[in-house]
């Protein structure tokens, strides 16, 4: 890499190992990312101080820029857990999947994606997806086969299944947001707070604006009378709690402290 006037980060084996791991897992939650980062230091540079995660990742991203990829941070739509994935910056869509899946399998994903985007809840039922099996491009696929393919997508963390319905995994949203917004500009829903793509969320029953659950949690935090930010009508849904990893943390060691806490509450 010849000298460029823009300061680019430096890669060491610590960073390389980290990247390899992130690629292997596809997507990781923040607490796992921190754990793995520490282990990378332990394996490759035992005596160095562990960089703050944000700086560590920014450093790697400055090197990845010329490859049109980056480590992106997002939050899960259901409860705001922070996640990380290595994503494509160029809009070549389902490229990462293209080599793992056959043409008809990719088309199945596309069909599921369309149903998910068009749905009111962000979920598409298994039945509805499977009914589209005859319309797939490529080799003919039976419904039984399609069920297996959908499971493959779940295992590879592109889809999430809940009670027979499918929605996008946080990883898919991170990876494909740009592609989705460009391909389905009329059908996509956007969060009124963060202006990112919205698949699952709450909506105002009066004016129809939508918000992600974690965005609702943050926006209405400690607000006794939540009102729609757009039309000011009373917000009718349950307000979720803001995700706080520190709050609910517990390890086996702290059992004795827990007992003490409980008694103090009374």
């Amino acid at each position: 890499m010849q000298g460029s006037t823009r300061r680019m980060g430096v890669m060491t084996d610590v960073h390389r190992r980290f990247l390899q791991l992130l690629m292997t897992h596809g997507v990781l939650e923040e607490w796992d990312v921190k754990r793995l980062q520490r282990h990378c230091y332990k394996v490759h540079d035992r005596n160095a101080t562990v960089d703050k995660l944000e700086d560590f990742i920014n450093n790697i991203n400055s090197v990845l820029e010329s490859l049109y990829i980056e480590i992106k941070r997002g939050v899960t739509e259901d409860d705001g857990r922070p996640i990380y994935a290595l994503v494509n910056l160029a809009t070549t869509s389902i490229s990462k999947m293209a080599t793992d899946f056959a043409e008809n399998e990719l088309d199945l994903f596309r069909k599921a994606l369309e149903l998910i985007i068009d749905s009111e809840t962000g979920f598409a039922s298994s039945t509805n997806i499977l009914n589209l099996v005859d319309q797939l491009k490529g080799k003919k696929m039976r419904k039984k086969e399609a069920e297996q393919v959908l499971q493959k997508y779940v295992q590879n963390k592109w889809l999430i299944e809940k009670e027979g319905e499918f929605t996008l995994h946080g990883r898919a949203i991170l990876e494909m947001e740009q592609y989705i917004r460009e391909t389905y500009p009329d059908a996509v829903k956007i969060c009124n707070i963060c202006h990112s793509l919205l698949i699952q969320g709450q909506s105002c029953e009066t004016c129809g604006i939508r918000m992600h659950l974690p965005c609702v949690a943050k926006y209405f935090q400690s607000n006794a009378e939540p009102r729609c930010p757009h039309c000011n009508d009373y917000w009718p849904h349950e307000i979720p709690k803001v995700f706080d990893p520190e709050k609910e943390r517990e390890s086996g060691v702290l059992k004795s402290n827990k007992k003490a806490l409980r008694s103090r509450q009374h």
Binding site: M11, R16, L19, H44, T99, E161, E248
Partner: protein, 307 residues
Amino acid sequence: MLQTPESGGLPVPQAEGEKDGGHDGETRAPTASQERPKEELGAGREEGAVEPALTRKGARALAAKALARRRAFRRLNRTVAELVQFLLVKDKKKSPITRSEMVKYVIGDLKILFPDIIARAAEHLRYVFGFELKQFDRKHHTYILINKLKPLEEEEEEDLGGDGPRLGLLMMILGLIYMRGNSAREAQVWEMLRRLGVQPSKYHFLFGYPKRLIMEDFVQQRYLSYRRVPHTNPPEYEFSWGPRSNLEISKMKVLGFVAKLHKKEPQHWPVQYREALADEADRARAKARAEASMRARASARAGIHLW
């Protein structure tokens, strides 16, 4: 220095402008071109006039050429980036990648620049990811990626590879299921975990949210099967090994894990030990079959016999 006329000067060091994302056709050209003209002029194609006393028409032509070169350069960089990604994704499947695949899916009509493109891709793979792109078969142009990072100790492997602690949790549950004759009631699983200080819905520093991990991740990924026990009222549910566990984790390994926990030998449980031995034999047979067929396929592709 220029290798091919119209595809833009290749070994020219990257300009600042190139890095700012791939937005083609933006009007960066006029301002950025101020840094380039001297070099491009020096490359000997223009008249070599150092003084900028060009006609309006000449200046426009010059700017257009510079823009075209920049576009081609950006396109080349993009192609290198796509090739890097292609190689990484392909390598995950552990099969060698052929030159014709690369040309077909990534390089396209830049085929004539293949040697340069692949050299750059190799450099990125080495510097950024720690992989060496090795030509596996010179005659048939197949390549593989070799991990150049130092190999991991077994303990490090467990910490970093296959989800460390989560795998441990899974092993505990698989162990419980196995020792109970291949299925365990949901209540028993939670009881065991509670004894280890793991609460179902409390955030755990090693496992995240255990209930979600077990009921969603493990079940969805087919490591565990979750079924209702028939004729139970109120309904009870049980866990058993999922199809993926059967594929990826051997009974012997789980038995060994349980044995270590109890500080005994696997043979201490004769029924499970026999079952595990039978499972090992099955696996060895399946593995031998798979290896034989993969070798046959590889040599069919290469056209020669591999060692």
